[in-house]
Symmetry: C2
Subunit: 218 residues, 2 copies
DNA sequence: ACCTGAACACCGTTCAAGT
DNA sequence: ACCTGAACACCGTTCAAGT
């Protein structure tokens, strides 16, 4: 019955630390993230995390990796269910990336900023290349398609996450709309702010992009 | 002949400070940017900038604004040169945004992350709405198109800027390619890394996206 | 191997003060 | 109005030390 009274804490590990770190970023944002706050969160010395990560950048890379691990736990991504055409499976794959991204809006600047070349990314790219091959796209065109679809997906999620949590009119635009004569078209467009639906909009652009990329070589 | 020997320095101003701040970010990156280094750069007390900006976030917002001010100094953006079809003028507008972005690769995370709703943005959006109207797109569809094209443009520039300056094979991918049997398609695609051209790729996706968005309502 | 704690060289920001 | 300088409450990271 020696040190039984110590506050019980899961054994420290890379995964556990990343999990709590991502939780902190989700809650308080990247700016507020600190090794010292992380230490409080995991109940250890401020420097404990340095045993698992050489520095903050490496820990952030780990967070990005953790988010990509949430993308499409195998299923819809690589399944070659021939009953649904490859074009639609490509759309589904992009949506499942988007879904993982939107689960961590405040961490997205990390995802958008740190190019990951990990085994996980290789698996995702490999699967996507498979989908594209089924759609008749290969070689350089496949790489182009993957990049274009990826940057559109991350870009859209990032912009959506950056918006004021309200979801209605983008912040500050109201002020500009006072001068309706200076921005007549913008003012007219403001009528449509109410029924803005990010998911529908994303799908709209995604379909345009994918169809254009698939059809370009005919 | 009192204080003549003082190192000559332009009078401090919002614009001057932003200009030097952007220069620092361009040179050393966002992480390394510090009010104290900025002070050295402008030859003033570390706290001098606080007279013009309430905090670091406000200064970063100013940097983003400064970059958008570099977009298409009027010309190609709003010109209704009827000899070139609206569809092509939309492409040109997106390219001119991209061009301004690529002039400041290390500042791009700021641009991608801070939604700007300033008069300058209103002017750009207003002009873009004009182009879309000429192409027969208005209302909610125009807002969708602007957002989709914008996020694609910023997303692509951000990804490109995030790459290792080398430009060749994305960092670390070589390591993964050792296990060619695990990632057969990725390995095959690697043959095309050499002739990767970001501008061509951007144009490819942009054309797909724009044509899809313009044609969707027929 | 895994974690602690003191120490160092920084930060952003506040505030009272100078001109 | 515009800028300075000291001070405060933090940071990330190093390193020697503990178990």
């Amino acid at each position: 019955m020696s040190k039984v009274m110590r506050p019980e804490r899961p054994a420290l590990s890379r995964e556990y630390i990343l999990d709590r770190a991502l939780g902190l970023v989700d809650r308080d944002g990247i700016e507020a993230f600190t090794f010292r706050k992380l230490a409080l969160e995991i109940g250890a010395d401020p420097m404990a995390a340095y045993y698992y990560f050489p520095n903050k950048a490496a820990l952030f890379d780990g967070i990005v990796e953790a988010i990509y691990l949430e993308v499409a736990p195998s299923a819809s991504f690589s399944a070659d269910d021939s009953s649904v055409p490859p074009r639609d499976r490509i759309l589904t794959a992009a949506r499942s990336m988007r879904c993982a991204f939107l689960r961590h809006p405040r961490a997205l600047p990390l995802v958008a900023t740190r190019p990951a070349s990990t085994p996980r990314m290789a698996v995702l790219v490999e699967a996507f290349l498979g989908l594209l091959a089924e759609a008749g796209i290969g070689g350089a065109r496949a790489l182009d398609a993957i990049t274009c679809i990826s940057v559109y997906t991350i870009g859209h999620a990032l912009a959506q996450a950056g918006e004021p949590a309200g979801g209605g009119t983008p912040a500050g635009v109201e002020g500009l709309l006072q001068e309706a004569d200076r921005y007549p078209r913008l003012s007219a467009a403001a009528a449509h702010f109410a029924d803005y639906d990010p998911d529908r909009q994303f799908d709209l652009g995604l379909a345009a992009l994918v169809d254009g990329l698939l059809g370009a070589g005919d």
